[in-house]
Symmetry: C2
Subunit: 393 residues, 2 copies
């Protein structure tokens, strides 16, 4: 019923900051740098006055830093005070959902050219208040004193998958090894160092079956994207990329209320909506950026998105399928694991990677002949999942 | 450049909870009640399965209660787990901006029938942590220890308007008196009691020139709206209302950085965008719901939206222009002042009032012959302003 078959919005520019510990940059500084890099990527140039509306994705501002982040937090540092700016806050899926809402406004014909920015400043708070420890956010909620931090919640799924399908910690570790290897090729990545399966397995345990190297880092960073109509796109570039499908799946917040621990129904729903809208199948995808907040998340997502059969995630990584040079490279950017996970920026940065891949501009990490790309972005404990599909045609 | 002339999205249902101190209801309870009232208002009936996507507007969840409010916070209590739900958080303008984003998705043809819900549970925190005192939100920010609470920030504009145009505290008081008189007619209003100008002037001073009765109350409440295409609307009702224009204005967050204290540039921009999109002028508006977080805010907004000439707000209320039975009744619902201001719900509840007015179903407080209605919803200290225009044709 829902979903438009001829959904098509052009991406004409994409830019980001380096991801990492950006103590030398303020929140505003990061936004300005991502925006400038985005403007620079528009090869035929763009007049800033062409931007008619914007969407900002930020999560932690309210939750941890308790600031009044809103549309003006984007408009002010960029001097874009004459245009509307909506703030989307849908947990870690905010960035992809901001792109989804911005694309709807372009498809509606309300605005022609629009900006999406995601930004998060996470390293300025002590690690006890980080999203991983969750103390800053959830310390008063009933499940936190019982140990339900993010690694514990996602680790449950990993454990269930091991039990149901014989998946091993080595399988999860291979996701980390792969993404670190990819991250070495990405100048924007937080960690540009290879690690071994042995190192992952010997790292301190955080929450079974996830050791320290199975977890993505707390990260600062920002990313920006400019969308427009396919018609207008040719004015700005000869190499537009097109968003051709978008899906957002929702589920109950608490995993103990779900019927399954071995998949994320929100991801399955988001994938179906996006594939249907784009008119493509999972097998058509050439390159994907997946939400590897933890190694087990990426492995289970292979199955949820149909990249491999149910229960075969471990075998698929054994085969090298999601590796650079493999059947369907996943997280060539390094993913959340090595590139970093500044939550509100993550979904937008995934789109930046796919933009470069589909234009053939990803340099050393270019996936040869990539035509169709997918981004997958989870929010909360898997209660939100946003899938966007891009094409270069 | 921006703005589509043939913008038209139908509203087929609108419902809300009573606004007030809802200690007997949880956040989920309020959402369920507003949603059920909304479904009931669809006169030819609606199958819940027709709803293809939703938007949730909530502000305080993250800022004060520090909870992980997201799309699942709406989907879960309503059992709507098979559809996407975006959360919009654009300060007190979130409700109207959620309607704006939902309407774009309908105009884009991505979804046909969609739900918008705004909800806020504000009375469960002690008043020192309220939005008025701001201690829960901004206690660590540089401007808070210097006294920059909401009444102080908006009071600056009142003071500047008094100085520039000879406006008096009596003028502001008349806004409170009017809205309390209107509120008596609204069964959903928090305060259903008349007050006098004398009572307003003698009330304890909060921040010059705003006394206690110049300030809206901290409130619990929820409101819901169902949007669809004009074509599909006839299946659900013979009396649809249409959203025909929407504008969102943005400004710098701190008023000392603005060029003026006697108007809100964000409101002026939002009004222009909405009027242009709707193809109407301010003089065409029959009934309006304005953001009277403080009495001076409503009075200055008369001018920002062109309901009277610049500087004549005081004279206009003296003339009875914005009163029920007057030239252009404003806040017939009681407004934020008497109906209440559960921040995330406010913009959606404004739309509920206009929906009833344009259908001729507002009972005792019906504005005779109302055809065009406007809602105005400020965020922060005036750095955001969203204006939506509705027609019954």
């Amino acid at each position: 019923m829902a979903g438009k078959k001829n959904f098509k919005v052009a991406v004409i520019g994409a830019g980001m900051t380096d991801f990492g510990e950006l103590f030398h940059q303020s929140y505003d500084d990061m936004i300005v740098e991502a925006y400038r890099n985005c403007l620079k990527s528009v090869d035929k140039g763009i007049d800033e006055g062409d931007i008619q509306a914007a969407w900002l994705s930020t999560v932690q501002g309210s939750l941890i830093r308790r600031e009044l982040i809103s549309g003006s937090s984007l408009a002010e540092p960029l001097g874009l005070l004459s245009i509307p700016v909506t703030r989307i806050e849908n947990l870690c899926a905010s960035g992809s959902d901001a792109i989804r809402n911005a694309a709807c406004a372009v498809m509606a014909g309300i605005y022609e050219t629009v900006l999406v920015v995601g930004a998060e400043k996470m390293r300025d708070v002590p690690s006890r208040a980080s999203l991983v420890a969750n103390r800053g956010i959830m310390s008063h909620l009933w499940w936190h004193p019982r140990g339900a931090t993010a690694p514990m919640v996602f680790g449950q799924n990993g454990t269930a998958h091991m039990h149901a399908y014989g998946t091993t910690r080595e399988h999860f570790a291979k996701v980390a090894v792969k993404n670190h290897r990819h991250g070495v090729m990405n100048p924007h990545a937080f960690y540009r160092v290879e690690i071994t399966v042995e190192q992952v397995l010997r790292a301190p345990m955080v929450s079974w079956p996830l050791g320290l190297y199975d977890c993505c880092p707390t990260t600062d960073g920002a990313a920006a994207l400019i969308l427009t109509t396919p018609e207008r796109a040719r004015q700005y570039t000869d190499k537009p990329v097109f968003l051709i499908g978008t899906g957002l799946g929702v589920d109950v917040a608490h995993s103990h209320l779900r019927s399954t621990y071995t998949e994320w129904p929100a991801t399955i729903r988001a994938g179906q909506e996006a594939y249907d809208m784009a008119g493509v199948k999972s097998r058509d995808i050439d390159v994907a950026e997946l939400h590897d907040c933890f190694t087990c998340t990426e492995l289970i997502t292979y199955e949820d998105l149909g990249f491999c059969e149910k229960g075969r995630g471990g075998m698929w990584i054994d085969s090298g399928g999601p590796c650079f040079g493999g059947e369907k490279p996943c997280n060539v950017s390094g993913g959340l694991k090595a590139k970093g996970h500044p939550v509100g920026a993550t979904g937008v940065a995934q789109a930046c990677e796919i933009f470069e891949q589909l234009r053939g501009e990803a340099g050393q990490r270019q996936v040869s002949g990539a035509r169709l790309g997918l981004t997958h972005n989870i929010g909360g404990a898997g209660q939100l999942s946003c899938v966007n599909i891009y094409s270069n045609q």
